[in-house]
């Protein structure tokens, strides 16, 4: 029903099965919505970030994968074996799914070494010891092996939690907002270290976050959830530049929407001609255009009808709110030394080279809707790249 997650990651030729596959996974809580028909496939070694507003279902997704919830429908597989479907359910301790939590959840009565060792009880004593040493070296905590968790800093606790989760070589590690309990100053460093550790060990990771920057900068793929469904699952730059829906456009970064019209491949809206739309030569259709503040250019012009309504200083950038003649507002980032006073008449244009996302209803479109071909002839489909990523189905 939504963006198809990049499936078939491992083609017939690939020997390694996907680390995690969700097919139609659904969980409902009475009348409240949990998650609905999730489809997602994560390749071994991938680091995926999962993002969405509060209550969007990302925690439920995590709990389903970890085995802390039983899905109402659908199939969940870890490393090629089914862990939950209509008939079977594998308990969390047999799933090979590691967990790292925001509160680190270390065992307070065990030393750092014993914490890391906890998941290794099936190994011999010697193997246990060498694996613990290996992991403590990896997170550079060998010198703290005999300390207790309360004697560690937040960042060190986080590293212990990661080492502990990695110790039994899980097929996938789930990280539930692992950095949000850390100090702002510490967070970037710990995040870099964590991502490096995951990459170095080739670990498959799913990182849940509420921080858009984190989602875009960490993941090889970003999964955006809203209201219990996956809105989009794509590479970070695709999510940002080619949002699949109105929600993704406004949630992942700032976005304003203007009613627009495409006629003979020309996109026009209140501020004039925005761009050409290749492949839409035969269409004559109303759409909404997504404009991000960095795409909106301003120029003082005495005869312009738009006015600067508010100015916010953000340090490196100055955010201008502009009220158009229609009463709609657009936002525009200007360099830190540009500041138009409130009330200034400004001409609004779209920065050169911008090819903005178009929406029909709440979904992004890349080709003209089938029923909108007002000019006859066949819709020439764009022969190009982004088509296979951005969903093209007709809105609900």
């Amino acid at each position: 029903m939504t963006a198809r997650a990049e499936g078939a990651a491992s083609g017939p030729g690939a020997p390694v099965p996907p680390a995690l596959v969700l097919e139609g996974v659904t969980k409902r809580y009475g009348s409240a919505r949990g998650v609905e028909a999730l489809d997602l496939s994560i390749r071994a070694g991938e680091l995926v970030t999962l993002i969405g507003p509060s209550g969007c279902g990302k925690s439920t997704t995590l709990r389903l994968v970890a085995g802390l919830e039983r899905p109402d429908a659908g199939t969940l597989s870890v490393a090629g074996s089914v862990v939950a479907d209509a008939r079977s359910f594998v308990n969390p301790e047999r799933r090979r799914v590691g967990l790292v939590f925001q509160d680190h959840a270390l065992f307070p009565h065990l030393t750092v070494a014993r914490n890391v060792e906890f998941g290794l009880d099936r190994l011999s004593r010697g193997e246990r010891r060498s694996r613990v040493g290996e992991l403590l070296d990896l997170v550079q905590l060998a010198h703290l092996a005999e300390r207790y968790p309360h004697e560690l800093s937040g960042g060190e606790q986080q590293r212990v939690a990661l080492a502990r989760a990695l110790a039994p070589r899980p097929a996938v590690v789930l990280l539930d907002e692992p950095f949000s309990s850390l100090d702002e100053s510490l967070r970037a460093q710990v995040r870099r270290d964590t991502v490096a550790t995951l990459r170095d060990t080739g670990t498959t990771g799913v990182l849940v976050t509420h921080d858009q920057t984190e989602a875009l900068s960490v993941g090889t793929r970003v999964v955006v959830m809203n209201n219990g469904v996956i809105e989009q699952a794509d590479a970070p730059e695709v999510v940002f530049e080619r949002p699949a829906s109105r929600f993704v456009a406004s949630f992942m970064g700032d976005a304003d929407f203007l009613p627009a019209h495409v006629h003979r491949a020309l996109l026009t809206c209140e501020i004039g001609i925005v761009s050409t739309v290749p492949g839409w030569a035969d269409s004559d259709v109303d759409v909404d255009v997504v404009l991000r503040p960095h795409e909106v250019a301003l120029r003082p012009a005495a005869d312009a009808t738009a006015r600067v309504a508010a100015v916010e200083y953000h340090g490196a950038f100055v955010l201008h709110h502009v009220r158009l003649a229609s009463g709609r507002t657009l936002r525009s980032w200007q360099p830190h030394d540009v500041r138009y006073p409130v009330g200034t008449a400004v001409a609004v244009t779209v920065a050169a080279g911008t090819s903005p996302t178009l929406l029909v209803g709440d979904r992004a479109v890349t080709s003209p809707p089938a029923d909108s071909l007002g000019l006859g002839g066949s819709a020439a489909r764009e022969a190009g790249s982004p088509d296979d990523i951005v969903p093209t189905e007709v809105p609900r």
């Binding site: 969390p92 503040p293 950038f317």
Partner: protein, 566 residues
């Protein structure tokens, strides 16, 4: 580009989900089985009692028992409310000589079981006691004295030993719950008196109701103390009917009646508390500042507190010590009396096994809940704790009924003699009844400790491949140890003090320290009862001290904070 976007998009972190896992059939079944085992005796009483109505003639004097029970409960309730509520009010609203010391000492009567206080009271005030002897020598043999073995005397004794329940709850309500609200009332222009009447007292009402309910339940469950005073309550009726006639049906019918009283008390507490759930924990503030009472008024307040403390604890303990010393001087063999050690060992053995069982079951239930399992398991866990509110007589009769039914079933199944004398001939019945009665405090302290473990710790252990049993042993139990220690202490002490259940269920020839005290006291061997009674008081003082130390730690922090503030 993402820099300013991040600035614009800073969002609050997501709300944590507190739900536990999907549950495990085995562990969930265990909780349900425990709940069924614990609920069975009470259910058996209700079924048998209601089912046998009309089958046997109701015991004589039934109406009288009901009226007496009602009068006793209301009397003790009112007495505790006046003494406990009044003292709490005095030490919270005023400062007077020795107040800071008395605040804590006033809790001590909690360590004096009513059946000990009762026989000391009788020894002092009965016909042969010093008070009446003095009156006779002063005013002649014909002088009128009120009947000592009577309902009012029982009310007085039980009020003196039970008032600390009301005192403790009222005091914590007055100082902790309403500080912020009291401050708000004062800043809104209410006078001290008006703030008291319109804010503090209404806010304290639920706590007073809870304290009152505790007192009434203790009164209802007692059937030893009241017998000293010839007061025939329904609980006494159950005991006498069972011991006198072994008429099951008559006993269970009376037990149902006792249960109805208990339900009435709990319903009454709910009603008094009303819809208002005044549990304010966030409300910090100066609160009520005690007012200094000067001169005679101050000393009068001191005298009132000392009087309650003396009557409820100091004088009885002194009397016990005098008796014990007299005994030891006249006959040093009293201490080496073999029975003394035997009965103490019996008490401790039963208490120890009970405590271990309660803690193990509590731990298993708490563990199962953390594994998840939904409403049924939570409901079953709740059900296991209701025994604390069921009077001892009901639990006792219920255990007898259940074991008799098990006997019948076994015999019908072809086992000759059924369980034999397993119940009546062993302490198994006592242990069963004790677990029903005392698993609630054990479960509360164990689960309080378990709840401090974040669910994420349990989830992490699961994801590291640890099966539930390993998590119980390696994570949950080690982390819940403080709660386990408290649970063991609470149950051991409650079990050593407990009297009615042992009286009802003990096998022939089995005596505990508490039973011994009761038997000696009933035969007016006051001096002989003094040594075992002192042992019981000494044991019972322990939790009072722990309680005081805990509250004191919290409160002295509060006082410190108040003094530091300009």
């Amino acid at each position: 580009m993402t820099g300013p976007a991040a600035l614009a998009e800073a969002r609050p972190p997501e709300r944590r989900v507190r739900a536990y896992g999907v549950g495990r059939p085995g562990w969930s079944a265990l909780v349900i089985a425990v709940a069924v085992i614990i609920a069975t005796p009470v259910l058996a009483v209700v079924l048998d009692g209601v089912g046998s109505i009309g089958a046997s003639t109701p015991p004589r004097g039934l109406a009288g028992m009901v009226v007496t029970t009602l009068a006793l409960m209301l009397g003790v309730g009112a007495g505790s409310l006046v003494v406990g509520g009044g003292l709490a009010w005095l030490v919270t609203a005023y400062r007077f000589p020795l107040r800071n010391l008395l605040v804590w000492l006033l809790v001590l009567p909690l360590a004096m079981p009513a059946y000990v206080l009762g026989f000391i009271f009788l020894s002092v005030f009965d016909v042969a006691g010093p008070v009446q002897s003095f009156l006779r020598s002063a005013f002649g043999a014909g002088v009128w004295v009120p009947e000592v073995r009577s309902l009012p005397a029982a009310v007085l004794v039980m009020s003196l030993s039970l008032y600390p329940y009301v005192y403790l709850l009222a005091r914590s309500a007055l100082i902790e719950q309403s500080a912020g609200t009291y401050d708000a009332a004062r800043t809104l222009g209410a006078s001290r008196g008006r703030a008291l009447r319109r804010v503090l007292l209404p806010l304290a009402r639920p706590s007073l109701a809870a304290g009152l309910a505790l007192v009434m339940m203790e009164t209802l469950t007692d059937f030893a103390t009241v017998q000293y005073f010839n007061v025939q309550t329904v609980s006494v009726g159950v005991y006498l009917v069972w011991k006198g006639t072994f008429d099951f049906h008559a006993a269970t019918q009376l037990a149902v009646l006792v249960l109805l009283f208990a339900v009435a008390v709990l319903t009454g507490e709910r009603a008094l508390r009303g819809r208002a759930r005044y549990h304010q924990h966030g409300g910090r503030g100066q609160g009520l500042q005690p007012e200094l009472l000067r001169g005679a008024r101050g000393w009068a307040a001191t005298a009132a507190c000392v009087a309650a403390l003396a009557a409820g604890f100091l004088i009885p303990v002194a009397q016990l010590l005098v008796w014990a010393a007299g005994q030891l001087f006249s006959d040093a063999s009293a201490l080496t009396d073999a029975r003394f050690a035997d009965y103490l060992v019996n008490s401790l053995m039963v208490a120890g096994i009970t405590a271990a069982s309660c803690v193990i079951l509590s731990m298993a239930i708490g563990h199962a809940i953390r594994l998840g399992g939904g409403r049924l398991v939570s409901f079953a866990a709740q059900l296991t704790t209701f025994g604390y509110a069921v009077p001892g007589a009901v639990v006792g009769i219920g255990v007898l009924l259940s074991f008799a039914a098990a006997d019948d079933a076994l015999e019908r199944a072809g086992v000759p003699g059924g369980t034999g004398l397993v119940v009546t001939g062993s302490v198994l019945g006592i242990l069963y009844a004790y677990v029903i009665r005392f698993i609630a405090p054990a479960y509360q302290s164990v689960s309080a400790s378990l709840e401090k473990i974040p669910p994420t710790v349990t989830f992490s252990a699961l994801s590291l491949g640890a099966a539930p049993r390993r998590i119980l042993g390696r994570v949950h139990f080690p982390l819940a140890r403080p709660g386990v220690a408290v649970a063991v202490m609470l149950v051991v002490i409650d079990a050593v003090k407990e009297l009615p259940i042992v009286l009802l269920l003990r096998p022939f020839g089995f005596t505990t320290t508490s039973v011994w005290v009761y038997e000696l006291a009933r035969e007016n061997f006051w001096e002989k009862a003094s040594l075992p009674a002192l042992v019981i008081v000494a044991v019972a003082v322990v939790p009072v001290f722990v309680l005081v130390r805990q509250t004191r730690r919290n409160e002295s922090l509060g006082i410190l904070a108040k003094e530091v503030r300009p």
